[in-house]
Symmetry: C2
Subunit: 334 residues, 2 copies
């Protein structure tokens, strides 16, 4: 049955392929939040597992910052287990170098690539799910980090389209700390791509060590920090730098209240899915404050899990067993 | 009596001046931790209040990163109150642009200025206190941030020389997070001084917003972050940049265990003063982990105060009333 269903799914795709293999859907023009148009919007994705006859087991997974559907493969088993029974659609986020991006767009390459938001990524995923995969409903949307931000946006943009939403280390609207982090990172990317110099590469590595982990000294031994920074070498590809700049802007534009005149309560009221919101107390990349606040407004619609640990942004990796159990129970709850 | 004693103090200084006015002591050559020599070591300082006949009320205050004895003036009243009864000696840390620094050294200016450590700053202060001010004992050493690091070093370098040590938002040895932060900041300083460009100035501002405050979004509203970053303008003076680079290296070299082969317990055992160690739970500039750990090793010799708030590195400013009460009680305890 699995094979038959996979073939069915493939017939619906623009570019046929095997399950887990990278496939592409050509969506044509994507209308952007900004009013601009993203031309030749080609979206990469991979599917895992099989859609049931009742078509009620599809989970859509948007990718994290700089990540791809390929980078999800290992994570999937960690988070869902080997035999999860779901039909998982992992979608390469716009700007990740697989889907349409500054580095690969023939019509809007490099600087000409329009600024995007995580909402635009979500719109491309909705079109993939409905127009290409022929789905009318998703069991769940689940994502980590920038994938968690997209999950939040899914919950307010298409509230009737899924039963469950699981943002992990995500944010419904970035706090000032996070916005500043990406503003710094964007400029370091541009500097690195331009100068191809040790100083820029080392500064980027230092910033990653500052925020990518936790403030607890145990997780980043001081002795190794200077050595790791000194070892950082130039080689930032300008196309990849522009991809990461556009995705950073997309994260900074994340805002579930956008359709509600900035009203958090109205945004929370619009959510219809059950949400499992997982954050880390020591996360200095996507700080947990906004997700915790939004969970509070969601009331009974949300289950909030705050991992109190020193893992920084490295959740769920750091809490894999507990995360898997929580997610498994939550996704099978209904 | 106050006036007479102030004149006495001034007679002992190399360059006479009024209380609170900037004075200078020329220490000649300072032997550095590295084995190198810092030539023409001129140290700026200001004194407040009067030394008692029994000469038992002197408090030495090292300055914070980029700060000066002038920048202490306001803080002093906040921390000690108007009528504190102490003879406060605020010493400009080497490299702050007032004391001998890359920006003002005639013999070792700019890049030629040797790398220094917070221990070297402390040695210059010890020589000022003993050789110039004729003091044989201090009631206390107290400092904020980099001043707190110097306070920790005072406690192990000259354990018999003072009764009390009060490091505020300081660290006995920087954790990996903090080291990485200063490694990033140093390179941004150099870039800013070299390119005099918007991008570098904006990246520095962004990094300040990321770490200078807390990760809680309330303290840095997201809406204002981008505007504040965009407003940052070039103008980093190369001399000042080199001052800040050398002071950043000095902080990263802070290590109270240096004379004890990295043995924390031996370092703690060497301390003889009573210590009041004040840190903030959300401090992302000088993370509190190492200070808390060291306080644990000090046992009865230390009182540890952890402010659980969202003020980031802005302690004691954010907890001025409680800090003043704590410090006042502690300094008058014996």
């Amino acid at each position: 049955m699995r094979i038959i269903l996979l073939i069915t799914a493939c017939l619906l795709t623009a570019v046929p392929g095997q399950a887990q293999d990278l496939q592409f859907a050509d969506l044509g023009t994507l209308e952007l939040e900004s009013g601009e148009e993203l031309l030749d919007c080609r979206i990469g994705y991979r599917t895992f597992g099989a859609l049931t006859d009742s078509r009620n087991n599809a989970i859509l997974v948007p990718t994290w910052y700089g990540g791809s559907s390929e980078s999800w493969i290992k994570r999937q088993t960690e988070l869902l287990g080997e035999e999860h029974g779901f039909f998982v659609i992992v979608v390469d986020a716009i700007g990740n170098g697989v889907s349409v991006s500054p580095s690969n767009s023939e019509t809007q390459g490099g600087d000409a690539f329009p600024e995007i938001t995580t909402r635009d990524m979500v719109r491309s995923q909705y079109r993939l799910a409905t127009e290409v995969l022929g789905l009318e409903h998703l069991h769940a949307v689940m994502g980590i980090s920038m994938g968690g931000m997209q999950s939040f946006e899914w919950a307010v943009l298409y509230p009737d389209f899924m039963d469950h939403v699981v943002p992990i280390a995500g944010s419904p609207r970035l706090g000032g700390h996070d916005v500043a982090l990406w503003e710094a990172y964007k400029r370091l990317l541009a500097w690195s791509a331009e100068c191809q110099c040790d100083e820029a590469a080392q500064t980027m590595m230092a910033l990653r060590l500052v925020n990518g982990t936790t403030s607890d000294q145990a997780s980043v031994p001081a002795d190794s920090v200077s050595a790791r920074i000194d070892r950082a070498t130039p080689g930032m590809d300008p196309g990849i730098a522009m991809n990461l700049i556009r995705q950073a802007d997309a994260m900074n534009a994340t805002d579930v209240t956008l359709s509600f005149d900035g009203d958090w309560e109205a945004a929370a009221e619009a959510v219809k899915a059950e949400m499992l919101i997982i954050v880390g107390s020591s996360d200095h990349v996507v700080t947990p404050g906004p997700a915790i606040a939004f969970a509070g407004l969601l009331g009974d619609k949300a289950e909030l899990v705050v991992f109190e640990n020193d893992c920084g942004h490295n959740i769920p990796g750091c809490e894999m067993f507990r995360s898997r159990a929580l997610i498994s129970e939550f996704l099978r709850g209904n």
